[in-house]
């Protein structure tokens, strides 16, 4: 079989690239080594974690907030098995959706491990072995959870996000190594279900790549939920002693401290995954962190071989991978697309949610940019009080001279959705005043964006 484009890996980068290639008239093949399409995002990432986050949030509300709303439950019970089962159902429906999209777009799907024979021939090793001839290749093999030296993941008590999405019991004490997005989201799930959660973080803040205000605000909310944070701790070892795990670390004074719990979630980031691809044989270069090196067109040093998503540099986000999938497909079709990497939003699905786009305040300070800050708390909104979701704020950073919006950072209910307004505004280079002069429906959480924009324009928020 001879294809115009073959894509290895069917995560959000790979399958979106396949659809766009098919739309552009390329004969397209998609290779996936697992039984279901969708990659990490759909199977063991974004989608299942959101399913558990939503379920556990309902449980948490039922246990703590319903009474205030005038709803009394006498014997609230957790059915974790059902919660996990529902999550599996969500994943299945979503994955089936990808199957449908592949059929609809007449994309040939090959199940098996894809590896290069040469740059135009891919061997797919599944139940059978077959060779695919192809003109162009897009590598979209994604990433895997990484770990620290001295810590062996045993997948029983010392686990990664994958195992944390299919627990048989709620941990009594969950020790989380790493205060990034994945650890905080999964920690939230089990904290809401009653677990004691300890986060051990190497730096001095959680979600360190996002604006500092968000980290501080989120810490406050998570502490209320029962999180304990240990900052500036360097984890040394994690030992599974059968029924419990002991984690040792060095604190900022250089003293050794130890933590004991029944599970330890290692969420120290993810590493690019290229195992089995045999890219060495065709000479594709990797950088010092194991990522595939690409040029401005996401083409590797081997002509006709491209790479997208977690396996290349940049934020490891599904929506970034999707943009890159579309980008490469259009490049192959001779178009001239562009990705504005500065405007790929970051999102965290804790409750309150966290989202940000553009420059953080720390980055602006470092760059010496003169900027103005406009901030507005969610608690001042009628909508927030009505729903009892009063934690959070919206912060807009604007250029001190031109008033152009340089960064928007938010924490609050559904801000992962709300951030889209900021992306649109910034893509069109809106000023803070522009946003403040657009009508925002009342009562909504979005009003916080307008008010923050008013505050940034000339410190003239209306409801503060």
């Amino acid at each position: 079989m001879k294809y115009d484009v073959t894509i290895i890996g069917s995560g959000p980068g790979g399958y979106v690239a396949a659809i766009r290639c098919a739309q552009l008239g390329f004969k397209t093949a998609l290779i996936e080594k697992y039984n279901t399409l969708g990659g990490t995002c759909l199977n063991v990432g974004c989608i299942p974690s959101k399913a558990l986050l939503d379920s556990s949030e309902h449980f948490h509300n039922a246990a703590h907030n319903f009474k205030t709303h005038g709803i009394n439950l006498n014997d609230l019970q957790l059915d974790l098995a059902q919660m996990i089962e529902r999550k599996n159902g969500v994943v299945k429906v979503t994955c089936d959706g990808i199957d449908f999209l592949m059929k609809k777009n007449k994309i040939d799907v090959f199940k098996g491990l894809g590896s290069f024979i040469d740059k135009n021939t891919i061997l797919v090793s599944g139940e059978t072995e077959q060779k695919i001839e192809t003109d162009k290749v897009i590598i979209a093999t994604g990433s895997k959870p990484s770990t620290l030296p001295g810590i062996a993941i045993d997948k029983t008590r010392i686990i990664t996000s994958t195992e944390a999405l299919a627990m048989k019991e709620v941990p009594k004490h969950l020790i989380i190594i790493g205060g990034g997005v994945i650890g905080l989201e999964l920690g939230s799930v089990y904290a809401r279900l009653g677990a004691q959660v300890s986060v051990i973080e190497y730096t001095n803040t959680i979600i360190p790549t996002m604006d500092g205000t968000l980290g501080k605000e989120l810490q406050r909310s998570l502490r209320k939920l029962g999180f304990t944070f240990y900052f500036n701790h360097k984890v040394k070892t994690a030992t599974n002693a059968g029924s419990e795990v002991t984690v040792t670390a060095e604190n900022e004074k250089g003293e050794e401290v130890s933590f004991t719990g029944d599970y330890c979630l290692v969420s120290v980031g993810r590493k690019p995954f290229t195992t089995g691809l045999n890219i060495e044989s065709i000479g594709v270069k990797l950088d010092e962190r194991g990522r595939i090196e690409t040029d401005a067109h996401l083409e590797t040093n081997v002509k006709g071989v491209y790479a997208i998503g977690d396996v290349v540099k940049g934020a490891m986000l599904a929506h970034k991978a999707e943009e890159e999938g579309v980008f490469v497909a259009e490049i192959l079709a001779g178009q001239k697309p562009h990705i504005n990497y500065n405007l790929i939003p970051g999102v965290v699905y804790t409750w309150p949610e966290v989202a940000g786009v553009g420059a953080t305040e720390e980055e602006l300070k470092k760059a010496g940019t003169k900027y103005k800050v406009g901030s507005f708390p969610m608690r001042a909104l009628g909508r927030a009080r009505a729903s009892m979701d009063i934690d959070g704020l919206v912060k807009i950073l604007a250029d001190a001279e031109t008033d152009e919006v340089l960064g928007v950072h938010m924490i609050g209910p559904r801000v992962a959705d709300l951030i889209a307004e900021a992306v649109v505004a910034m893509e069109f280079r809106a000023s803070a005043e522009d946003i403040s002069r657009m009508s925002h429906a009342h009562p909504t959480y979005a009003e916080a964006v307008k008010e923050a924009a008013l505050a940034a324009t000339a410190n003239r928020a209306l409801h503060m």
Binding site: K336, H338, T402, E427, F428, D434
Partner: protein
């Protein structure tokens, strides 16, 4: 009372059909408001109010009327109905009396940090056209380049502006006039002769117009291409074909033909050709006499290629043969020029390398002669 007549919408369109009235008799219309949609056999276009006032319509939806005929009248003296503020006046009147005297909002659009910056879609479109945002005037807020600006940038690229768009008008000589008159007497409108046999710039008359007593020569070649479209034959125009490569011409033909089939050609894209090519061969025609598309002076008809018995070196051999026909206005073009033109076309078709080397013999070029 302002009379609105059906405007001239393109050459060879003499009548239009009223597709839809957007306003009716008695309506108060604002200047530039859409009055109705008109349809010719080739395209749909809109008629807007030339002034504000009360409208009287002439003709019903579905009626066919001639270009230049009265279609509507606007009584510009009629009073604006109450509650219908003048658009400009409205903006002023809604301004609160105690509005902060500060600044901005009410000032006209001006330049800012965002002037000339293109949004995501506009940016991609411009990149693909190879046009720098600096060459485009943005119509968005504070001069932002909108998608529509980027799309339009195609029609008036600076490249095209730099290309020759010069017309030369030359008085007809008295001999020409006589030839012209005689031929006109013989044939009523244009004098058509068809030469059978097989380079427009080498024969400028073929690319010229006759305008009264003047011959308008064009230094550019805007080639009309006859395309069969769902609504009938349309002739989109390839501008400045003389400065395009073969591949560029090909892609432009594909683009225009695609738009023609989707009925998306604008009037602008169909007017102003200086010469027409039609290919009856795709429908199986072996030989035909194409009709000139006035005011052009000539049209080239291509036909299908069939195998024919011909004599070469004293032998009867089978060779692919295509007939090529040039219909031309004998008032401008003499037989010598028309035959010369066809011979040039034949040479180019028989030896495509000539097209790629701009007419220089390939062997000479390669040998550096």
């Amino acid at each position: 009372m302002l009379k609105i007549n059906v405007p001239t919408v393109g050459e060879s369109i003499s009548e239009v059909t009223i597709a839809r009235w957007n306003k009716k008799t008695g309506d108060y219309v604002e200047m530039d408001e859409l009055l109705c949609e008109l349809e010719s056999d080739k395209a749909t276009f809109e008629l807007n109010a030339e002034a504000s006032g009360v409208l009287t319509t002439h003709g019903n939806e579905g009626d066919t009327i001639k270009v230049g005929d009265l279609i509507a009248e606007i009584n510009t003296e009629a009073a604006r109905p109450e509650g219908m503020a003048k658009p400009e006046a409205k903006a002023v009147s809604t301004k609160p009396a105690d509005a902060p005297s500060t600044k901005k909002a009410d000032e006209p659009a001006k330049t800012s940090y965002a002037t000339g910056s293109a949004g995501p879609a506009a940016q991609k479109i411009l990149a693909e056209k190879g046009i720098s945002p600096a060459q485009v005037v943005g119509s968005g807020k504070d001069g932002r380049i909108l998608k529509s600006d980027a799309v339009k940038a195609e029609l008036k690229t600076t490249q095209n502006e730099q290309k020759s768009r010069v017309d030369r008008a030359e008085k007809m000589t008295s001999l020409r006039k006589t030839v012209s008159k005689r031929l006109l007497a013989a044939k009523n409108e244009t004098a058509m002769l068809t030469t059978f046999n097989e380079a427009l710039q080498q024969f400028p008359a073929v690319n010229a117009y006759l305008n009264g007593e003047e011959i308008i020569y064009h230094d550019y070649c805007d080639i009309s291409i006859a395309v069969s479209a769902p609504k009938g034959l349309v002739v989109p125009v390839i501008r400045n074909a003389e400065s395009m490569s073969l591949a560029e011409v090909e892609s432009e033909v594909m683009r225009l033909a695609g738009k023609a089939r989707d009925n998306k050609l604008s009037i602008e894209e169909m007017t102003g050709g200086t010469f027409t090519i039609t290919n009856g061969g795709v429908f199986g025609s072996m030989l035909s006499t194409p009709i000139i598309n006035p005011p052009q002076s000539a049209i080239l008809g291509m036909h299908n290629i069939v195998e024919r018995a011909v004599v070469q070196n004293g032998q009867i051999v089978i060779r692919p043969i295509m007939y090529v026909a040039l219909s031309y206005d004998h008032r401008i073009i003499d037989g010598r020029e028309s035959v010369g033109f066809l011979v040039k076309v034949k040479q180019c078709l028989e030896n495509p390398a000539l097209l790629l080397t701009q007419g220089t013999d390939l062997n000479k070029l390669l040998l550096g002669l």
